[in-house]
């Protein structure tokens, strides 16, 4: 009886996540091609030149193991860990050849293990 109930509940989740669009695609810059206008999560390595005007940040994002680069425009909190060579990810959309990041969605990975440096999120 218990097993059936749990199985039933599980089925509900699977349905929910599939119907609700099943999460956001997580991509590297080289994979952005087929996703014009859709909201995705973009992950990669920061490359220069990095320009900062007030709260807007402009930089290049490259495949972690590759050469494809996309230009990114982002407004919002930026972790102090952010700099060229660091791995980051953020949400946003590809528009007119430039990836426009969602406000406060930029997360910079810390170079060492066990350390979190988000600029937004959660409770």
């Amino acid at each position: 009886m218990i097993a059936l109930s749990v199985a039933a509940l599980l089925a509900v989740f699977l349905l929910y996540t599939s119907i609700a669009g099943g999460g956001t695609a997580s991509l590297q810059p080289s994979q952005l091609g087929g996703h014009f206008g859709n909201q995705v999560q973009l992950a990669g390595r920061v490359v220069g030149p990095v320009q900062r005007e007030a709260r807007t940040l402009r930089f290049g994002l490259r495949d972690v193991k590759g050469t494809a680069i996309v230009r990114v425009t982002y407004t919002g909190s930026v972790s102090d860990q952010f700099r060229p060579g660091r791995d980051v990810y953020l949400r946003g959309r590809l528009m007119h050849g430039v990836f426009v990041g969602e406000k406060d969605s930029l997360v910079t990975k810390c170079p060492s293990k066990y350390v979190a440096k988000p600029s937004s999120g959660g409770a």
């Binding site: 749990v6 996540t17 609700a20 956001t24 992950a43 102090d80 810390c110 293990k113 979190a116 959660g122």
Partner: protein, 664 residues
């Protein structure tokens, strides 16, 4: 000295292998001396691991940079207490800690767990030995903490945000929790291997499970506090895979703690309990794996080493082993009693279990989704906090309600009429609270209001339970009200300790709801002299200070705070720059109001060279209840765990042999 460390670990590995194979042989052939020998090997493995750990600690204290591990995690100027905590700061050291805690807790649990029965103990030893063998193999052959090099002039240093008192306590507590969950699992496997269907192993491991669960809970709260103060993004939980990795086994363990009570009292749910304890231990292994492999996209930059494959293999082995034993012993475990009524305490425990496990599995699904979607669709898809929040609310609110209902319902069955009378007071409390809160403006979030009224209901029901129980004790002849209360708790520590823990959960919910659903956020760029408001507070940015500390350059924006015209003093928010580690850290300003538990949280997000600062200000009502809840949680767990001399005496007389009836 690294040679001593390496050889000590080889000795530990040998002992673990011996404990596994000799222990299994001894259990199978029922050989007493061999069984004792295997048990001794487990304890000796702890001693050997402790020697290796001591070598590593000594190297850290001495700042011996010829140890690769030491050079990677400390610098010469690092304060001593943080140099020591670097022990678990990296892959190799944390695995060594796992082994140390496992062999230590394992040896102790086996030594003090005699009431599980000698045949169960005989099988538990090789199971623990098997787990120890895995971890010993890792630290000996794959990720040794004792690699050496020509000592460099300076170490890599420790990430500044880890140099924090919370980080001294958080990892060891989590480890005691994670590893501690191996104990009930090992005993469960031991019982199955010994072909036992009774509850003795549960009674024997009860306090160990409580201990592990309590440490895991406190460890998570410490981590949340660290994230709140040190990482400083304005929150304390972000549904990051690493955070979820600790939450999942804790939820499974919570479900397990409840369902074993049903097995003890009514002999039901035997199979379910074995499944739960395997889920809890499996998830704790999975959590350990998640924090060190590179499989999911997380704010943590994980090492992409070979260790991931080993962990996945071991987890698969553990699960397969548990399921195999379960299936082959299934006829033995069939319960003799059935659920008598859907309105009974057993039933509420069951609903509680379903909700907790469902929530746990939804989180697991969310964590695994990127991996699964990659495998199935070739495209990695991530799941955001919205998914987790939805299920937290969907499962959390009913669970909250159950916490209030459960204690008031009797075992076996309860009549609806009796329930109506019992629920009167708590319901009244809930309605009254709801009305008051509505008047205070909590209607701005209907969800928050509902959560608060549920909390009032639960607190009302807990208070009622204590009141009724104390009154009954008094009628039974207790000398005074205080005496009656003390007797009440002493005669049933688990139950009343559990109620205190429920109260802690309620406090946690109030804190979480207040600081998320009723918080205010304001962002503004200010030049020196300018003002901004957030909620009831007015902040004036006075000036920017720069100071040189021991290992950092400190930049602080000084702000004057006032509320309703009254001056509340100054706060400082800014950043630290660490030249050795080449890193900066956020140093947020938190002003806690002792009366309301509210926090004013200020981040100096961006500091320009001309002194202009971009501020992010949060007003978080009731957030300090989250930390208070932690203290209440510890109190409740202690009460529940506290040794009961009457119970001990009863179990001792049970184990004593009967007088020999020698009659001609």
């Amino acid at each position: 000295m690294p040679e001593l460390g390496r050889s000590a670990l080889v000795v530990a590995l040998g002992l673990a292998v011996y404990a596994t194979f000799a222990g299994a042989l001894a259990a199978r052939r029922r050989k007493r001396r061999l069984a004792v020998s295997a048990q001794n090997a487990l304890l000796a493995a702890f001693a050997a691991t402790a020697v290796a750990a001591a070598v590593l600690v000594a190297a850290l204290v001495r700042r011996d940079l010829s140890f690769v591990y030491v050079a990677q995690h400390i610098s010469r100027e690092l304060p001593l207490r943080y140099a020591i905590t670097a022990f678990w700061g990296g892959q190799e050291g944390s695995l060594l800690l796992w082994l140390l805690v496992l062999t230590g807790l394992g040896a102790a649990a086996v030594a003090f767990g005699r009431r599980a029965g000698p045949d169960v103990i005989a099988w538990t030893v090789p199971v623990l030995g098997g787990v120890a063998t895995f971890f010993a193999l890792l630290v000996v052959a794959i990720e040794s903490p004792f690699a050496t090099q020509a000592a460099p002039p300076e170490g890599a240093g420790m990430t500044p945000s880890l140099q924090n008192p919370y980080m001294i306590a958080h990892p060891p507590m989590l480890y005691l929790g994670y590893v501690g969950l191996a104990i009930p699992w090992a005993f469960a496997m031991g019982a199955l291997l010994a072909r036992r269907a009774d509850e003795r192993w549960i009674v024997a491991t009860r306090r160990w499970t409580l201990l592990a669960w309590a440490f895991l809970g406190v460890g998570q709260l410490l981590g949340a506090k660290w994230a709140y103060e040190e990482v400083g993004w304005g929150g304390y939980y972000a549904w990051d895979p690493v955070e979820n990795a600790a939450l999942m086994p804790w939820l499974a363990a919570t479900a397990y703690l409840h369902s074993v009570m049903i097995q003890e009292k009514r002999g039901m749910l035997r199979v379910w309990n074995v499944v739960l304890v395997t889920l809890a231990f499996g998830l704790s292994l999975f959590g350990t794996f998640l924090t060190r492999s590179g499989v999911v996209n997380s704010i943590h930059a994980f090492a992409q080493g070979p260790i991931g494959v080993w962990f996945v293999g071991f987890i698969a082995l553990v699960v397969a082993f548990s399921l195999y034993l379960l299936f082959t012993r299934l006829p033995l475990l069939r319960s003799r009693t059935r659920l008598e009524s859907l309105v009974s305490r057993e039933a509420t425990f069951l609903y509680n279990n379903l909700l907790l496990v469902a929530f746990c599995l939804t989180i697991l699904w969310g964590v695994l989704f990127p991996i699964l979607s990659e495998a199935v669709r070739g495209e990695t898809r991530t799941i955001g906090p919205g998914y987790y929040s939805f299920f937290l609310k969907s499962f959390g609110l009913p669970l909250l309600l159950l916490m209030g209902i459960g204690p008031l319902i009797a075992w076996r069955r309860a009549s609806v009429k009796a329930l109506g009378r019992t629920f009167l007071w708590p319901l009244a409390a809930a309605v009254a609270a709801g009305v008051v809160l509505l008047a205070l403006g909590a209607g701005s979030s209907p969800l928050g209001l509902s959560a608060y009224t549920f909390c009032a209901f639960v607190l009302g029901s807990i208070a009622l339970e204590f009141a009724r129980g104390t009154r009954a004790r008094r009628a039974l002849g207790a000398s005074s009200w205080r005496g009656a209360f003390a007797q009440l708790v002493a005669h049933n520590r688990r139950r009343y300790g559990g109620y205190v823990v429920h109260a802690a959960v309620v406090l946690l919910v109030i804190g979480v709801v207040g600081s998320s659903l009723f918080q205010t956020v304001r962002e503004q760029s200010l030049r020196p002299g300018e003002t901004m408001t957030a909620g009831d507070y007015t902040l004036v940015y006075r000036k920017l200070e720069r100071r040189q500390a021991a290992n950092a350059e400190q930049e602080r924006a000084v702000l004057g705070v006032s509320r309703g015209g009254r001056d509340l003093g100054t706060i400082r928010s800014g950043k630290n720059l660490y030249p050795v580690e080449q890193q900066a850290s956020n140093e947020v300003a938190i002003r806690s109001d002792p009366l309301t538990g509210e926090d004013l949280f200020v981040i100096a997000d961006q500091i320009d060279t001309d002194g202009t600062v971009y501020f992010k200000v949060f007003v978080k009502p009731l957030v300090n209840l989250v930390w208070v809840a932690g203290l209440v949680f510890v109190l409740g767990a202690l009460v529940a765990m506290w040794p009961d001399p009457r119970e001990a005496r009863r179990l001792a007389t049970r184990a004593a042999r009967p007088p020999a009836h020698a009659r001609a």
